[in-house]
């Protein structure tokens, strides 16, 4: 595989699903890169320099320039290193991929984050919302745009697998920490089977942190949230919201 002419550096956070998306894409492309861990709550001067608008991870540094926003980064990686494409070639297929990436970040992830950061009636509503969203994906996998495919990308992992897969592990983590049923294999058999298959892939196993670490992390944040008074600090909300 081609190695980059310029070095590639990723500013990320170990428990951040958007960082994992970029790490996985770089691995799938066989690219070497330098990784710099960022404190979620206290961004480094480098991060503030390279992502002045949002001040968040991930930020990809390449050839002296920075690219931010995970889905934008993934497409940049795919267009710069064109072996093993992660986006389909056909314009309509590309639009469908982009739509479900948008859905993931616009609907599913916030609902999952809300399960984690709420309690009582609010949490029940959030759980229902997650189920509604998973039903839509289940339908597309079973009968719709992705019918008959092993992965959303086809035979191989594609961009939507990366976007949806890096973050779906929180479903299992939150199920345990929050004691709610989120991704029941009987209700969502095709989605569940896809997720298991995805998580078995070598590059994915190398990217996603061990579930014990994620459980410990989630428990710690939940403890912190509960021990504060009713209003959580915005940084905790950021951590919760980004963990979806």
């Amino acid at each position: 595989m081609d190695q980059p002419a310029f070095s590639v550096k990723l500013l990320g956070s170990w428990a951040d699903s958007h960082t994992h998306r970029v790490q996985l894409a770089l691995k799938l492309k066989g690219l070497e890169f330098e990784y710099q861990e960022e404190d979620f709550i206290n961004p480094s001067p480098a991060l503030l320099l390279h992502n002045p608008v949002y001040k968040k991870v991930p930020a990809l540094l390449h050839g002296g320039r920075s690219i931010v926003e995970s889905v934008v980064i993934l497409q940049y990686i795919d267009e710069t290193w064109t072996d093993n494409p992660i986006m389909p070639a056909d314009p309509f297929e590309r639009a469908v991929t982009r739509f479900w990436c948008h859905f993931t970040d616009d609907k599913l992830a916030p609902a999952v984050g809300l399960v984690f950061s709420s309690s009582g009636e609010g949490q029940k509503a959030a759980v229902d919302q997650v189920h509604e969203n998973l039903k839509l994906l289940e339908r597309e996998l079973k009968d719709g745009a992705f019918k008959g495919r092993r992965f959303f990308g086809g035979d191989k992992i594609g961009l939507l697998d990366i976007v949806l897969g890096c973050g779906s592990y929180w479903l299992a983590v939150f199920e345990e920490v929050m004691e709610v049923k989120l991704i029941d294999p009987e209700s969502f058999p095709v989605f569940h089977a896809w997720l298991r298959d995805f998580e078995e892939q070598q590059e994915v196993k190398e990217t996603i942190p061990a579930i014990d670490r994620l459980l410990e992390y989630a428990r710690g944040i939940r403890q912190m949230m509960l021990s504060l008074s009713n209003s959580s600090s915005s940084s905790i909300n950021n951590a919760a919201a980004s963990s979806g």
Binding site: V53, G63, R65, I67, V68, E69, V72, I73, Q75, Y76, E79, T80, P91, F92, R94, A95, R98, F99, H102, F103, K107, L136
Partner: protein, 219 residues
């Protein structure tokens, strides 16, 4: 049904993005008005079951949803004329970033200018002025956000030029004061036939904002 159909609402800035892109590409299409304040058509509900919103582009029976995704689709399905996104991956990434910024920051904050009152509105105003200054910096002395050529970010932001008057009037400030280059850019965009034909008159948008305010119970 024609080969290309756009389900839209006359005042929707998101629909207008699609109209601008189709016009830039010279694509013939059928425009279908949806009454988004009333009952949604069966075609809309079938074509966008997830969000049930306009705009939706239906090309040879296949629906594409979400305005920025539609514009990218238009660019890729009709690639031979008037490219909206640059070829270079880094320039493309920048264009995608700023187009998303228009949605996540500019429009999100802009809607709070007319939806909110009192202190919350004042806070939104300060935030919006900051957002305008970021856009002003990104535009710089270029003719368009895309450089010399009208491009993706220009398509994303141009429809909101009609909303400047509403933002200013509702929140009591001057956009020209905060971002004179953006205002000048807006006027340059209006000189393009594709934009002039798509955009609503600012007075009509202000009327629409009045209707929406009642709907949201803002007064």
């Amino acid at each position: 049904m024609k080969a290309v159909v756009l389900l839209d609402f006359w005042a929707s800035p998101f629909g207008q993005r699609c109209r601008i892109a189709l016009a830039e590409k010279g694509v013939e299409y059928e425009y279908r008005e949806e009454n988004i304040l009333g009952a949604k058509s069966p075609l809309l509900l079938k074509s966008n079951p997830v969000y049930k919103k306009v705009p939706v582009l239906i090309h040879d029976g296949k629906p594409v949803c979400e305005s920025l995704i539609i514009v990218q689709y238009i660019d890729e399905a009709w690639p031979d004329h008037a490219p909206l996104l640059p070829a270079d991956p880094y320039a493309r990434a920048q264009a995608c970033f700023w187009a998303d910024f228009v949605d996540m920051k500019f429009n999100e904050c802009g809607s709070r200018l007319w939806k909110l009152k009192g202190e919350a509105q004042a806070a939104a105003k300060e935030e919006f002025i900051g957002i305008l200054k970021l856009l002003e910096g990104e535009l710089g002395d270029k003719k368009y956000f895309g450089g010399d050529a009208f491009g993706f970010v220009d398509v994303a932001l141009a429809p909101f030029v009609s909303w400047f008057y509403s933002y200013e009037t509702c929140a009591g400030f001057s956009i020209e004061e905060a971002a004179p280059k953006v205002v000048a850019w807006g006027k340059r965009c209006m000189e393009r036939e594709s934009v002039a034909n798509a955009l609503s008159h600012p007075d009509k948008i202000y009327e629409m904002v009045g209707v929406l305010k009642k709907k949201f119970g803002v007064e």
